[in-house]
C-alpha cells in the first residue's frame, strides 16, 4: 500500500489541482492507496473541496486520510468529513467552522441561506448527524475537536503530550470480589 502526503493551507485551485493529480496518479497504480491530507488552518472554496471529494468517492482504490490542525474553514470541514471513517484525526486544539454568521435563535433548516444549506446537506449526508449539524450552523460558532467527534466529522483526537509530564503511577486497585458460596 502506498501512502502519499500533501499539506494543505490554502485549498486554492492550484492546490486542488495538485491533489487531483496525485489522486489520479494513485488511481493508476495497483492495489489500495491512501492519500494523506494534512490540513493546517485551511481556507479555500467549497467547489475545490468537492472536486477532490468527487474524485476520491468515485475511486475504488484510493482512500483519503485526514490530519487536521489549526482553524479549518467550511471547505476544510467538509473535506475532513469526507475522509475515510476511522482515518480522520485532529490535533487537540483544532477547530472547525461550519458557518461564520449565526442565525437568530429558533431558526430552522428552511431559514438557511443557499450556501449554508449546501454545507448543511453535504455534512449531514457525510456524517449522518442532521440535528447536530443544523444546531452548529445556526449557532455560527466554530466547534472544537470533541464536538467534531460527536458530529462524526473526525474519528480521533490526538492529545497534546508534554514530555515533562510524569506518568501517573497511582492506580486504583480493584476491589476484591467476594462471591457468595
Amino acid at each position: 500500500m502506498i501512502k502519499k502526503e500533501i499539506e494543505v493551507e490554502d485549498l486554492s485551485k492550484e492546490k486542488s489541482t495538485e491533489i487531483v493529480e496525485e489522486i489520479n496518479n494513485l488511481n493508476s497504480q495497483k492495489g489500495q492507496q491512501t492519500l494523506n491530507l494534512k490540513l493546517h488552518s485551511t481556507i479555500g472554496d467549497l467547489e475545490n473541496a468537492m472536486a477532490i471529494i468527487e474524485l476520491i468517492h468515485g475511486s475504488e482504490n484510493v482512500d483519503l486520510a485526514i490530519n487536521v490542525s489549526g482553524e479549518i474553514n467550511e471547505a476544510g470541514t467538509i473535506l475532513t468529513a469526507a475522509g475515510k471513517p476511522g482515518e480522520r484525526v485532529a490535533s487537540q486544539f483544532a477547530s472547525f467552522t461550519l458557518n461564520e454568521s449565526p442565525y437568530p435563535e429558533g431558526s430552522k433548516e428552511k431559514d438557511l441561506n443557499i450556501s449554508d444549506k449546501n454545507i448543511f446537506e453535504t455534512l449531514t449526508q457525510l456524517t449522518g448527524k442532521k440535528k447536530l449539524i443544523l444546531e452548529c450552523i445556526i449557532n455560527g460558532k466554530a466547534i472544537d475537536t470533541n464536538q467534531a467527534r460527536k458530529l462524526k466529522i473526525i474519528d480521533r483526537v490526538e492529545k497534546f503530550k508534554s514530555k515533562y509530564r510524569k506518568r501517573n503511577s497511582r492506580t486504583k486497585k480493584a476491589e476484591p470480589v467476594i462471591k457468595a458460596t
Binding site: 492550484e14 493508476s28 467547489e47 468537492m50 468517492h57 475504488e60 453535504t122 449531514t124 456524517t127
Partner: protein
C-alpha cells in the same frame, strides 16, 4: 373519496415552439439529408449501394421572398398512407436498425428557420406522385380543431425515378444571412463522414449560380500517421465494489469499433468523435458521462483524430449532446477508460518533439515569468455572459432517513421497528449530488499551468491544409517552433549559435502563448485567435519597413 378525470391536451402550435430547440441551421438541413440517406438504406449492402444515390442541396439566389433551399434525392421516396394519421413523435423508423430516424420530429425542424415546407415524393415501384405542404398556419388552429394538411395525388411522369424533394421557403430574414454553404459543406462532411465513405453515394451542394460542390469525407489515409484500431465485443462493469467483482456484458452482435489516427507533424484539430449509425454524434471529449482524466492526452489532442462507432451500444439523446444513461452506457464508458493507456502508449511513441535542453535557460526564464500569469478570463465567458456556470459534484454519504413528524408510535405500530438501532456498521454508499457555481473548468484541465517550450529541432507541424504552424499545444505545454519563418525573422542577429531575445521575439512568443491559452479556454474561437495574430504579425512587418 371522489375522483374525476382531467384531460391532457397538447397545444396545436407546440410543435412550432418545439422546433426552436434547433439552434444550428445546419443541423436542421442535416435532418432532411438524413431522411434521404434513410430512404436509401434499402439499396445499401456491404459498404455499397445497388444504385447510384444522388442527394443535392440547392440554395436559390434571389430576394428574401424567393429564397429557397431545396433538398432532393433519388432514393426510395416517402411512404404515404392516406388511411392513417401522421403522428408526430412516433417514428416508424425507430425499430429499424439500419435507419437513423427515431424521434419522429425531424421533418418539422424547419419551423426553426422558415415557415413553409413543400414535399413532393414518388415511392419506389409506384407511378403515383404525392405532394403536400406544411406551414405555420397548419398548426396555428384552435385546440378543438385537429391540424390537417392536404396531399395531392397525381400520376408520376413516365420513366420518373423514385425520390423526394423538400423545398423550404418563407425564411426568417436573420436565417438567410446565417446560412453559408461553405460551412454547411464542412458540417455535412463531418456529420456524414462514414456515410460519404460508402460506395455509390454522392452529396452535392449548389449555391445559386455557382457550380455544384461535392462533399468529400475526411481522408484518413492521406496523412502519414499511426493508426489505432480496436473492436470491443465485451464490456466490463463493476458488479460489486465491495467484493471487487466485475460483470462482463457481451456486445458481439454490435461491437464497438475504435478507429484513431495520430500524426507526428500534422495538427488535425478535429477531435475524435462518436458515430451512431454512420452519423457523427459529438466529440468524445464533450461527453460528460465519460469521466476521463486523459482528455488532453487523447480526446482533445490536436494531432489525433478518428471516431468510435457505438451503434447498438449507446443511444444519443434528441439533442445529440449526450447518451441515454443505461447499464450499457455505464459499462461502455468504464471499459473505454481501460483502453486509454493502450492508446497513449501507441501514440506517444509517434510524437515528434524537441526534448533537448538546448534552450533550457531561456525556457526557464520564460516559464518563471509565466508562473504568476493569471489572465482573468474567467469573469466573462466566450458569449459575454457571466462565467458563473454551475457544476454538479457527486459524493457518497450515509442514507438519511426522513422522519415523518406526524407519525405516532404505539407499541402495535410497525414503524416502531425503525427505531431499533442497527448494530451493523453504517456505510456511506448512497450517492448524493451538490451543485455549486463556478465549476465549469475541471481542475485537472487547469489552463493556468501551461508551460512553454521552444522546439528548435523539428520543422513546424502543419495544419490540415499543410500550412506550417507557429505553435501548438500538447497537454499542458505550448510548443513554439523556432524553425518557423516568423520566428526566425525575429531572432536577434548578434549571435550565431544561440537565440537572442529581441523585443519583437518577446512579443511574438507572448502572442503565441496567449493564442494557445485562450484557444484552450474557448476552443470555438481558436481559429479566430490564430487569424488575429497572423494579421497582427503582418501589420507589424509593415511597420518594420516604415521604421
Amino acid at each position: 373519496m371522489d375522483k374525476f378525470t382531467k384531460e391532457i391536451q397538447y397545444d396545436n402550435a407546440a410543435i412550432i415552439q418545439q422546433a426552436s430547440h434547433y439552434i444550428d441551421p445546419y443541423r436542421i438541413l442535416a435532418e432532411y439529408i438524413d431522411n434521404s440517406i434513410d430512404a436509401a438504406e434499402i439499396y445499401y449492402d456491404k459498404n455499397s449501394y445497388s444504385r447510384n444515390i444522388e442527394i443535392s442541396v440547392i440554395k436559390t439566389h434571389s430576394t428574401h421572398d424567393g429564397f429557397k433551399i431545396i433538398i432532393q434525392d433519388n432514393c426510395s421516396g416517402m411512404e404515404i398512407n392516406s388511411s392513417e394519421p401522421f403522428t408526430i413523435f412516433r417514428s416508424v423508423k425507430r425499430q429499424d436498425q439500419k435507419t437513423n430516424g427515431m424521434f419522429g420530429f425531424g421533418m418539422f425542424s424547419f419551423f426553426a428557420i422558415c415557415n413553409k415546407i413543400q414535399v413532393s415524393t414518388i415511392r419506389e415501384n409506384s407511378d403515383t406522385k404525392y405532394s403536400f405542404e406544411i406551414t405555420t398556419d397548419t398548426f396555428n388552429k384552435p385546440d378543438n380543431e385537429k391540424p390537417t394538411f392536404e396531399i395531392s395525388e397525381s400520376s408520376a411522369p413516365e420513366n420518373s425515378q423514385s425520390g423526394t424533394i423538400f423545398t423550404l421557403s418563407d425564411f426568417n430574414p436573420d436565417t438567410i444571412e446565417s446560412i453559408n454553404f461553405e460551412e454547411l459543406r464542412t458540417e455535412i462532411e463531418k456529420h456524414f463522414e462514414l456515410i460519404l465513405n460508402r460506395e455509390g453515394i454522392s452529396l452535392t451542394l449548389k449555391d445559386g449560380k455557382n457550380s455544384a460542390v461535392k462533399c468529400i469525407p475526411f481522408e484518413y489515409s492521406k496523412y502519414s500517421s499511426e493508426t489505432y484500431v480496436k473492436v470491443i465485443s465485451a464490456l466490463e462493469k463493476t458488479h460489486s465494489k465491495k467484493k471487487k467483482t466485475i460483470k462482463e456484458i457481451d456486445i458481439s452482435d454490435n461491437p464497438v469499433k475504435i478507429f484513431l489516427i495520430a500524426s507526428a507533424d500534422t495538427e488535425f484539430n478535429r477531435y475524435p468523435f462518436f458515430v451512431y449509425k454512420g452519423r457523427r454524434v459529438t466529440e468524445i471529449s464533450k461527453i460528460e458521462q465519460f469521466r476521463t482524466v486523459k482528455k488532453f492526452q487523447i480526446w482533445s489532442r490536436s494531432n489525433i483524430t478518428g471516431y468510435i462507432d457505438i451503434t447498438g451500444v449507446l443511444e444519443p439523446t434528441p439533442n445529440r449532446k449526450e447518451f441515454k444513461n443505461t447499464e450499457l452506457s455505464k459499462a461502455f464508458f468504464q471499459t473505454l477508460l481501460t483502453y486509454e493507456d493502450d492508446i497513449i502508449k501507441q501514440f506517444d511513441s509517434h510524437s515528434k518533439f524537441d526534448t533537448s535542453e538546448t534552450l533550457k535557460d531561456l525556457e526557464t526564464k520564460i516559464n518563471h515569468a509565466l508562473k504568476d500569469f493569471n489572465y482573468d478570463s474567467t469573469s466573462k465567458s466566450s458569449t459575454g455572459e457571466d462565467r458563473d456556470e454551475m457544476r454538479t459534484y457527486k459524493y457518497k454519504g450515509y442514507k438519511i432517513r426522513q422522519r415523518n413528524s406526524n407519525q405516532i408510535l404505539t407499541p402495535g405500530n410497525k414503524t416502531q421497528k425503525t427505531l431499533v438501532r442497527n448494530k451493523k456498521e453504517r456505510l456511506r454508499n448512497t450517492i448524493y449530488e451538490i451543485t455549486l457555481p463556478g465549476g465549469k473548468e475541471d481542475l485537472h484541465q487547469n489552463k493556468n499551468s501551461l508551460t512553454l517550450k521552444i522546439d528548435s529541432l523539428n520543422d513546424p507541424h502543419k495544419d490540415i491544409s499543410k500550412k506550417p504552424l507557429r505553435s501548438i499545444i500538447r497537454e499542458n505545454t505550448v510548443y513554439i517552433f523556432a524553425k518557423h519563418p516568423e520566428f526566425q525573422s525575429r531572432v536577434g542577429k548578434t549571435s550565431k549559435s544561440s537565440i537572442v531575445i529581441t523585443d519583437r521575439l518577446e512579443n511574438y512568443i507572448a502572442m503565441e502563448y496567449i493564442t494557445q491559452y485562450l484557444g484552450r479556454i474557448n476552443p470555438e474561437f481558436r481559429d479566430s485567435y490564430m487569424e488575429f495574430v497572423k494579421a497582427v504579425l503582418s501589420v507589424e512587418e509593415k511597420f518594420k519597413e516604415l521604421l
